[in-house]
């Protein structure tokens, strides 16, 4: 059950380690995406973030995203690590690595994964800014929503 490719953790994320879980001698391209905590959001001066997850379902959502990507890009290896707990400015909240013999597929699958994480992963961020705090609320998590999935694919082609 504990696949090193899909993790929710309170430890700092390591791009090289995430990439290593999907690298092999026949892969020519590795594309990674790293989401970092910014010092500004919607005009607010951000102090730090707190990420919360429904951990077992979050890991399952990553596996689901990998399966969706695998239907479209069978040659791609995908890994997703998401951090939880308190994160300071500049720290990585999410790391995605996509490997493939060819670069086009690696880029596409990496982009697809971040779009889908934002749509369906049961993870929430609590923004602490100068003057207050706010729960950021984005998408209603519905993995069966085909329109959302099509929108995610549309970003990748």
């Amino acid at each position: 059950m504990s696949d090193p490719r899909f993790r929710v953790t309170s430890d700092p994320l390591d791009v090289t380690a995430v990439s290593a879980t999907v690298s092999s001698a026949d892969c020519g391209a590795v594309t990674t995406f790293v989401g970092l905590v910014r010092n500004e959001n919607g005009g607010r001066r951000v102090l730090w973030l707190e990420y919360e997850a429904y951990e077992p379902l979050a890991v399952k959502s990553f596996i689901r995203i990998d399966e969706e990507a695998g239907e479209r890009w069978p040659s791609v290896g995908l890994a997703i690590h998401h951090r939880i707990g308190r994160l300071e400015i500049g720290e990585a909240s999410v790391v995605i690595a996509a490997t493939s013999p060819h670069r086009a597929e690696a880029f596409a699958a990496c982009r697809y994964a971040i779009e889908r994480i934002k749509q369906i992963a049961p993870i929430w961020k609590h923004e602490h800014f100068e003057g207050g705090e706010i729960w950021i609320e984005g998408a209603t998590a519905d993995p069966m929503d085909e329109d959302a999935r099509r929108m995610a694919f549309a970003q990748c082609t």
């Binding site: 959001n41 919360e52 999410v94 934002k118 049961p122 929430w124 207050g132 950021i136 609320e137 998590a141």
Partner: protein, 92 residues
């Protein structure tokens, strides 16, 4: 039947608990569990249209039937990933 309800993020804060127990009538669905919370916690009803749910760590529907011992989770709109391109859709 007896179910455990997991709450996250702002729902957790409004309820003041990350987990609550409920005894529901036989034949209850996820919706029954949600409505029991809406009746108790002001603010929950604001989420009735946007909330999603899981049963026993799998995504579910409001119509999913419940059994004794189930773990139900209510998920406010999610915001994983990173802050880039967010447009401040959050609620205070």
């Amino acid at each position: 039947m007896h179910v455990t309800i997991r709450l996250f993020a702002r729902l957790r804060e409004m309820a003041g608990a990350s987990e609550v127990q409920r005894t529901l009538a036989d034949g209850s669905s996820v919706r029954t569990a949600w409505e029991s919370l809406v009746g108790e916690f002001p603010g929950f009803d604001d989420y009735s249209r946007a909330v999603s749910c899981a049963v026993n760590e799998e995504y579910a529907r409001m119509t999913t039937p419940l059994s004794d011992g189930d773990e139900v989770a209510f998920l406010p709109p999610v915001s994983g990933g990173s802050l880039e391109r967010e447009k401040g859709k959050g609620k205070r």
